[in-house]
């Protein structure tokens, strides 16, 4: 596969283009200006994944910006996937930040709507519920904007850019949120708009996901874009219950909750569940990889990645 057929030549893109099962992981930036926590996480995860997502003020809580943290990861040898929500920036700031990000060497961008700031930052932090949100464009329009910058070298308003902007474009799929039968059609819209890869909301119900994925595959979507189901490593039964109740689109089967409740060592059990989920996803024809997350517990990922047989990563440089 020659580089001329690649859109951004990121490692993630090359892994997928080479037909390998891809692995992306998530790195949460700190609620502060210290680069060290980011570097520490990079040191733990270096070489273990094909792309490292950096969230963008997730749950509308102010954290180090995705682009800045992503640059730190890049410098530390981890190819980042920056994330950009539609909540905090208008199209002018978005395009400007994307130009800057590309100039700094970032090559993957996940486009998403973003959590509404009124949510109260998952109850534990104050956040900024009184902030004015932006939502100038939605996630699908943002995907189209990035595609236009890349493939036509044009800004959304029509002005030319000095050169095209190379990004491997990502979007999110939440297959199990209502209205369920529309979700795969909306996925089609995202891919039509220009999404190259898709990461899903955390999946715990493999059967239901497989059914939704089959529809996507039947529509040819799984070949036009690489779909990577999301897996969040369970830390406790409480966490699963919380997510099942409070995180839209996350459905946790009762059996899994019971399993965590009865586990003598919940952390170890959670790791086992994560490995099983990875293997289950791998077994679904057409799934091109997985997106693994351990919220504020990135140090748990290396053992899980190894246990799931996803180490070492393929050579694609």
């Amino acid at each position: 596969m020659t580089t001329t057929t690649l859109k951004a030549n990121s490692r993630l893109e090359r892994v997928l283009a080479g037909g390998h099962f891809a692995l992306t992981v998530e790195v949460g930036p700190p609620r502060g200006a210290n680069a060290e926590p980011v570097r520490k996480k990079a040191a733990i995860l270096k070489g273990l994944a094909d792309g490292y997502n950096v969230t963008d003020n997730q749950t509308a809580v102010v954290r180090m910006s995705s682009i800045a943290a992503a640059k730190l990861l890049l410098e530390a040898g981890c190819e980042p996937i920056m994330q950009m929500t539609c909540r905090d920036r208008n199209r002018i700031a978005m395009q400007s930040d994307l130009l800057g990000a590309a100039a700094l060497g970032l090559r993957n961008c996940l486009c998403l709507s973003g959590d509404h700031q009124g949510q109260g930052a998952s109850g534990k932090l104050k956040g900024h519920p009184g902030a004015k949100n932006v939502f100038d464009v939605d996630s699908i329009q943002l995907v189209a904007i990035v595609k236009r910058m890349r493939d036509e070298g044009l800004q959304e308003g029509g002005d030319a850019l000095t050169e095209p902007v190379p990004f491997f474009i990502g979007a999110v799929w939440t297959p199990l949120s209502p209205p369920e039968d529309f979700r795969v059609l909306r996925l089609a819209k995202k891919i039509e708009a220009g999404a190259d890869f898709i990461q899903t909301q955390a999946i715990y119900d493999v059967e239901r996901f497989a059914a939704a994925f089959a529809k996507a595959r039947d529509m040819g979507l799984a070949e036009r874009a690489a779909i990577l189901p999301g897996i969040i490593v369970p830390a406790s039964a409480g966490m699963l219950k919380y997510m099942n109740k409070n995180v839209p689109g996350v459905e946790v089967p009762e059996a899994l909750i019971k399993r965590m409740e009865q586990a003598k060592d919940p952390k170890a059990e959670g790791a086992r569940i994560a490995v099983e989920l990875i293997e289950a996803m791998r077994a679904i024809p057409g799934v091109k990889g997985v997106h693994l997350q351990a919220i504020e517990a990135e140090e748990r990922l290396p053992e899980i990645i190894k246990a799931a047989g996803l180490s070492p990563r393929p050579e694609v440089d």
């Binding site: 709507s113 509404h116 949510q119 949100n133 939605d138 329009q141 189209a144 089609a188 839209p248």
Partner: protein, 223 residues
């Protein structure tokens, strides 16, 4: 209509402290419709504020009036004789009415007693919900009559986002429908899902508040 709600009593007390005689003015149109600023509310808020200020150590005389509409000069003029006799005016009209009074009676402080919040409709008795966001580029023709700008918390044009709750409500408020769920249901009922497969391009917000304070001038209607 325009809806609003009373400012919190402590905020009103703060505004009126130091004044001895004020005029509380209501409006019999939009804010009366949403039971915030009509005559009934004037007659409830006046004694309530008298109690609040009295017990705050600031006895106050509150005169009352309710205009048909506070956004028409011909109704506002009716207060010409009364306003100069008071220290201040407290208007429980929407922001438009407050400004009309403030403009006409430039010498007298005019305070807002309401927080104006939305362009809404009374869904049922006692329940008002937002309907329009005055975006200046109406898309109701392509969203089956349901406004995603006003009624989607993220104003999505290609919704729904992943935040729809299991029961079809919006992640932001358990009482609010995910309007994109509703739009989809309508499309499905009419056999018109295809319409939702089209990617809606980025909106031109220039004809709304985002383009600057709105001004409409019609030469044919000028004096």
């Amino acid at each position: 209509m325009i809806i609003g709600e009373w400012k919190p009593i402590p905020e009103l007390v703060e505004m009126l402290r130091g004044h001895k005689k004020i005029l509380l003015v209501g409006c019999a149109t939009c804010v009366a419709e949403c039971a915030a600023g009509g005559e009934r509310e004037v007659e409830t808020l006046a004694p309530l504020l008298r109690i609040a200020l009295e017990t705050d150590g600031n006895p106050i005389e509150i005169q009352t009036q309710t205009l048909e509409r506070q956004c028409e000069w011909e109704f506002v003029e009716a207060l010409d004789a009364q306003v100069p006799t008071v220290d201040a005016v407290l208007s429980i009209a929407c922001g438009i009415g407050v400004q009309a009074l403030a403009e006409r009676f430039a010498e007298t402080p005019v305070y807002p007693g309401l927080n104006t919040t939305a362009l809404a409709m009374r869904e049922e008795a006692g329940l008002w919900t937002s309907r329009c966001a005055a975006c200046g580029d109406c898309v109701l023709g392509v969203t089956f009559g349901l406004c995603p700008v006003a009624r989607c918390a993220k104003s999505l044009f290609n919704g729904p986002c992943g935040g729809t709750r299991k029961d079809g409500k919006c992640e932001v408020d358990e009482n609010t429908d995910c309007i994109w769920c509703k739009i989809y249901e309508r499309a499905k009922a009419r056999g018109a899902i295809d319409a939702l497969l089209q990617i809606r391009k980025a909106k031109n917000w220039g004809n709304s508040r985002h383009g600057g304070p709105k001004r409409i001038l019609r030469e044919d209607l000028r004096p």
